[in-house]
């Protein structure tokens, strides 16, 4: 499928998850829980880091216990494992980054229902060893992070005139309220998807 297949397994997973099979703009997965916080770069970074770690650890754990899980309760066990890591993330945030935890509100908990985590657990971790599953989960998260961070940079810059909380455009900048509000996230994501997909098509065409 992708030209990256010839390299080593780990490298090919990396390239695949970041580019050819990016969870956001190719698979359109998991945007629910994070798109809402993309009007602020720091929050987005923390959220997507949380998603990457949760995906990596739950993929590894589920891959390790794959043989032992009875078929009937497979889904509920998956959800349990994912919730476990998300709660750990929530506890760590509350203890060490209280401000971030407060501004993220319920969205940390929503990492549980992020479809990427479930998706990787089903599609990859089920048939691969733990270490490779961990790597797959982590890189999927990174591919996800890359797109959302790009959106967050644009939204925060135009919406608040700042970059990661540092005022950049000066006091005379009139903030674009639309950038703080929901519709801009849809438009920006669509634009990112358009650009990146077109580029991907071109690269595929060039290789042929």
């Amino acid at each position: 499928m992708s030209p990256a297949k010839k390299r080593g397994a780990a490298a090919s997973i990396l390239v695949d998850n970041l580019w050819w099979n990016n969870p956001v703009f190719v698979q359109v997965l998991g945007i629910c829980s994070t798109l809402a916080v993309t009007n602020n770069l720091s929050n987005t970074l923390i959220m997507t880091t949380g998603v990457s770690l949760a995906t990596a650890f739950s993929s590894a754990t589920l891959s390790a216990m794959n043989k032992a899980i009875p078929a009937k309760v497979r889904m509920i066990v998956q959800v349990l494992v994912i919730s476990f890591y998300v709660i750990i993330i929530d506890i760590v945030l509350r203890a060490y980054l209280p401000e971030v935890s407060r501004s993220l509100g319920p969205y940390v908990g929503l990492i549980i229902t992020n479809c990427i985590i479930m998706g990787r657990a089903e599609a990859f971790a089920r048939s691969n060893p733990p270490a490779l599953s961990f790597w797959d989960g982590l890189t999927s998260g990174l591919g996800y992070m890359a797109v959302l961070v790009a959106i967050a940079v644009v939204r925060e810059l135009f919406g608040f005139g700042s970059f990661a909380g540092v005022p950049l455009l000066g006091p005379r900048w009139t903030s674009w309220t639309i950038m703080i509000m929901a519709p801009s996230a849809f438009f920006l994501l669509a634009m990112a998807m358009w650009g990146l997909k077109t580029l991907q098509e071109r690269m595929k065409g060039g290789k042929r």
Binding site: C32, M181, F187, A190
Partner: protein, 197 residues
Amino acid sequence: MSPEIHPLTLLVASIFTNNILLSNFLGMCSFISISKDQKSSSGLGLAVTVVMAITMIASWAVLKLVIEPAGIGYLSFIIFIIVIAAIVQVLEMVIDRVSPALYLSLGIFLPLITVNCAILGAILFMQIRNYGFLQAAAFGLGSGAGWWLAIALLSSIRKKVDAAPVPAGLKGAGITLVTIGFMAMAFIGFSGMVNVQ
């Protein structure tokens, strides 16, 4: 903490001005993939509304009667997920026994719902905003109905959009997101409407 917000305000607000999908982005995954088809969209929307209303009330009860008295707030994510999964399972069995016809139209969507972030999201909002019973019930029903409205509208719009000449890179998810963006903007227009206070 917020006993005075009128449940009716919440009901209207959660359907229109703060639609859980259009302003909180919750439940996007199934939203984008299912909205291709009008009939399934309506089915899934109905299922989400029913499950959302029931789970919201159940989670409210669990929160007030179990989680808060026992002081196990840190476990609430897991408990809510189990509540949702259990209710979906029970609902599936009940519908199957009572009305096979309804099961055919609704039942196939039920398993999809356990992992629908809109449900867990609405419950977590209920927890963090500390709603009372009536508020929680109104918010649950409104959020579900709002999600239903959004997916029903989108699936009809998509039917037209699919026939339109769209640039290759924007086809599918891309143009759907643009459409959702316009819908979200239109829904902001409802902002002045909620005056039930």
